[in-house]
Symmetry: D2
Subunit: 348 residues, 4 copies
């Protein structure tokens, strides 16, 4: 078993890490960090549990420590659920000694930090060596993309492999959990939509092209197509929905698109990593799916469900679809864990 | 005063007609029709009132009649809130004698039936003569577009007037009232989104180009750009939200787009029609508006609110925005009434 | 294995039966009935699946038959999810030959039909003999109470066993699933409460006293205390919440009440029936629990969670608490199945 | 015109004060206070407007000052929307010089501070003299009860006047706005109920008896019946719903109860105070009313709607009903304003 810790363990994503790591076949939680006011408390006292599953017995008695490299002791991997501003300050310090699998956005676009979806660009992990050499670290940081980007990029990958994408337009309908437990007041969202999520559109547009780009020597050359996003918060608890419009360079058959999505496999599937969904993309034919409440838990929240795949007759070589992905599992904690499983398999 | 009636007066849109016609300065409700099981009842007994305003005193004692031309007596204009299948059968019969201002989709795309938004294409009313001559009717039918189309087209009109639109992509987040009172079960939509609304995408794609087209002699030549829609139902009571992406042929300044939207006026504003909003489009600069709950009632539900107007750097000559329009006022009953007010002013 | 069928298998409660019976250790679904328009179709074609779990593979290919005793063939138990009016007509016909474990309200108050919660009044099953003799049936009908009643009565039972209850007041906050999939339009319940559920208050008041009554020879003498209910529909998907006020005859210690609830066990626990929760009542100490979304799935939806147990200082010998129970599991399908498991154990 | 100010003007209740005072026939807003970080800003910059009405033009340019008696200048009445802890500290300082009409709970139960609902206990204003004498103030503090208490007490008053109340049980279903804009996270309340609101049950139980008590010389003798509350937060934006069970000493006719509620009038109605609803209690006969979304705005949010008035056959001389009142209008800002209108009429 690999000993692991969770940085920022009391928040929404921190709790998802704990839920997913409980009974994990390879990783065992040894340390949990949180802000100073939780320090020294048993986890059960420090955290109000937000998830519908119960708090795992195994973490209740763990004594929470501060988010400080001197306090986490002898573990191998630290999963980071820290807010971006804190992550920017402390993740590099942790990386001097530890492997940091981070869900925070702070380091994602650093040229020597791998931003990885295991099914999409596992080769970017080669940047670890570059990073360690350049920074003189014994550990390293590997990051996963923003929640909305992960689901989108997973569905673009098989298309990008076989066709030339010219344009992507995406309108998101994002669950409130994406903003953290206290992020969206009920007064703001009952019977309402908020058509703005700070920084989200920029993340989608930048990270997606980065992930679908090429690693050349020690840097990433982003993919070259245009991508435009409009992001909206909706009264849904979990599960981001995205309406996607794509223009390709070449003509295509819609059934081919369905087939390549359905058959899509990545290295996690080949290696049978513990958290890997059997199929990263589930293609549904029902006219009214995917729906966030009905499809977010598909494959334990690790698969993206795609539906309404159809030609877009208004434009040449164009198609449309709708996707749903679980934003705090596949889009956050589960993404970091899958990265760590891959690292554990191929690097450790 | 012009004597009017409402066909299909007990449903959601029928009630909006009644609400908006109560105390109308030009129109006075004289007759209300409904299905056979309501026939003969006082309106107050026949209809369960769904709106937050109270049922107007003036209609409570009106005796509901069947939806049959022989029963509506001596009125001038009939507002139709009928379902499409019934409208297809009975609206032509009413039009033999009456002016029918219809919100139903049945006759919208008939070549001799004006599909009109008064601010956008009032000249299409010239088709009335064509229609009457061709069909031998003393009355006529005039229709308004689908709720989602009206809001979108109002915002496209000033752009279309000054620039060449190449592409429009629109993802809608539509309120449950659009499906009628019983249309969306709460089990289907609480904590959920339904990414499908039957026929809606086709209506948006067809009607918008028709409305922005040209009337040449006796037929409409649709506008020629591409438009692609993806429609979604969200847990919002009233007010459709639309995320719009546009590519123009020419370059533009974003402030010019804001200005032409803000300054946009149509014939209803010039004629000061009773239901005309002072400004058909309200442009907001706040980063998190428009929101359906906060903006749907703008200008008594007759204006469309636009926000997040911004360049789309991913593509040349491109812009994005979000709009909110009240689907059962500007998008339905209010649209038919504004059509009737225009007819009353320029034709009667 | 006992071969079973589900009457009314396509609705909300019918689907819960199927979900709970899938992989059941004692029961195996052999037949599914539905209304004529589903007859002859494979279940997968006949039913739109409403639950978040997936439709079990085992039922997809079962050919749906009409709800008619001549069509269900050779099975032992029929679970009834029929609407009350249909149940009234057909359940007696089925009972001529089959064991009917019914969730319908139609036959509950018939003097010779056992209305049973296995933890509360298993001895009422003695009425089966009375019923068979009186009606000349080879089969019989056993019923479970209304969803709200079951949860309430389970929590009253240990109190009733040790104290004399004088008064019970209960205000319910009931989930929309209780009205069936199409029962509550979203227009009715978003940002709203409906303070009326037809027949519900009467059911609670009648059934609870019946369940806590005594079987004397061949009839039930209801318990004698007063019970008053006020029922409300709230925007919650599953899980009924009930605020309970109780006046006892005797003084009590609040900790004794907690203890007797926590320690409460019935025959299903002693017999370790497959669907029996380890504890029928879960007592929570957190000040803000139980909550329907967080607690409805406790013990696979078969336990009732009680919280905020506190004295009621306004009145002598009085206490208050809040409970949550899953209305379509413990309150419907799960209740019938537990009845059948008990019958299977002690009668068959 | 009387010059007034609002203490704590940027929060939810502060905004309701501004909305209700805009265009008020007697009061004119001259000063707005807020926390230090808003000080010096124009109100439009300091406050994010939460209400569906628009921010009144008249306040946009008012420069916000700190919540400090030295800064509010020459006004007569200060409406307080301060949080309880701040109110406890500063309201007494303001009262040295100003009339403070407070919605805060801090001073409500002080023996010399009138806690008043104008329709219920206007005579408690006699305590003003006691207060001024005892504390040596030129101004004074008058308070209104908690939101839930006001609605409940208004409906109890006509019953209390004619009958002897023995018992009151009340279960509340309270809107999220009652906790302030950021008070209830959407993650906490979508598809959920929270069965706990800190301090609320105690306020209902204490304040109601105080309001229905008698002022004897210089102190209030509370009413003597028992009252027990259970409070729950529900996913509703505005409007508290309460299920009420009452036992009287005497027998009654249910129609008499309806009549005395319907005919109930207080001094605000007799004096025709500007904010007084024509009827404080609206009695509805529909079986499914009152509903918060449909009835909260009754009489501009100043009337309480009562429905489902029925005998409670389980207990002697008992009745039940459900009420809805607007928690931030009649239950907060509107309550303070009505108090001030009464003071302005009879004292100034």
């Amino acid at each position: 078993m690999v000993d692991v810790g969770v940085l920022g363990a009391t928040g929404m994503v921190g709790q998802r890490f704990i839920e997913l790591l409980d009974k994990h076949p390879e990783f065992e939680i040894k340390v949990l960090t949180a802000s100073p006011r939780s320090e020294g408390k048993r986890y059960e006292e420090a955290a109000k549990w937000y998830l519908q599953s119960k708090m795992p017995e195994s973490v209740k008695d763990i004594k929470v420590v501060g988010t400080d490299p001197s306090k986490v002791g002898d573990v191998d991997i630290l999963f980071s659920a820290l807010p971006a501003d804190i992550a920017a300050k402390v993740e590099p310090k942790f990386a001097e000694k530890y492997v940091v699998a981070s869900n925070a956005s702070a380091m994602r676009m650093e040229p020597d930090v791998p931003l990885v979806i295991p099914e999409v660009n596992p080769d970017f992990l080669d940047l670890i060596e570059v990073q360690q050499k350049k920074r003189g670290w014994d550990g390293f940081i590997v990051t996963n993309p923003n929640c909305t980007t992960i689901a989108l990029t997973l569905t673009l990958k098989p298309i990008h492999d076989q066709y030339t994408i010219n344009r992507v337009y995406v309108a998101t309908m994002q669950a409130v959990s994406g903003a953290g437990y206290n992020g969206v007041p009920s007064m703001a969202i009952i019977d309402n939509i908020i058509p703005y999520i700070g920084g989200e559109e920029e993340k989608i547009e930048t990270e997606t092209l980065h992930l679908l780009g090429e690693l050349e020597e020690d840097k990433v050359i982003p993919a070259q197509f245009g991508i435009s996003a409009s992001c909206h918060r909706v009264p849904v608890l979990d599960g981001h929905t995205e309406a996607v419009f794509i223009e390709l360079e070449e003509d295509f058959e819609i059934n081919d698109i369905k087939r390549i999505m359905d058959e899509f496999q990545g290295i996690p599937q080949k290696l049978e990593l513990p958290s890997a969904p059997e199929k990263p993309i589930i293609v549904r034919e029902d006219e009214d799916r995917p729906q966030p409440r009905m499809d977010r838990d598909e494959s334990n929240g690790m698969a993206v469900t795609v539906g309404r795949l159809r030609r877009d007759a208004a434009f040449e070589n164009s198609l449309r679809y709708v996707l749903v992905g679980h934003n705090t599992i596949r889009g956050a904690a589960g993404a970091s864990i899958l990265n760590a499983e891959l690292i554990n398999e191929i690097i450790f």
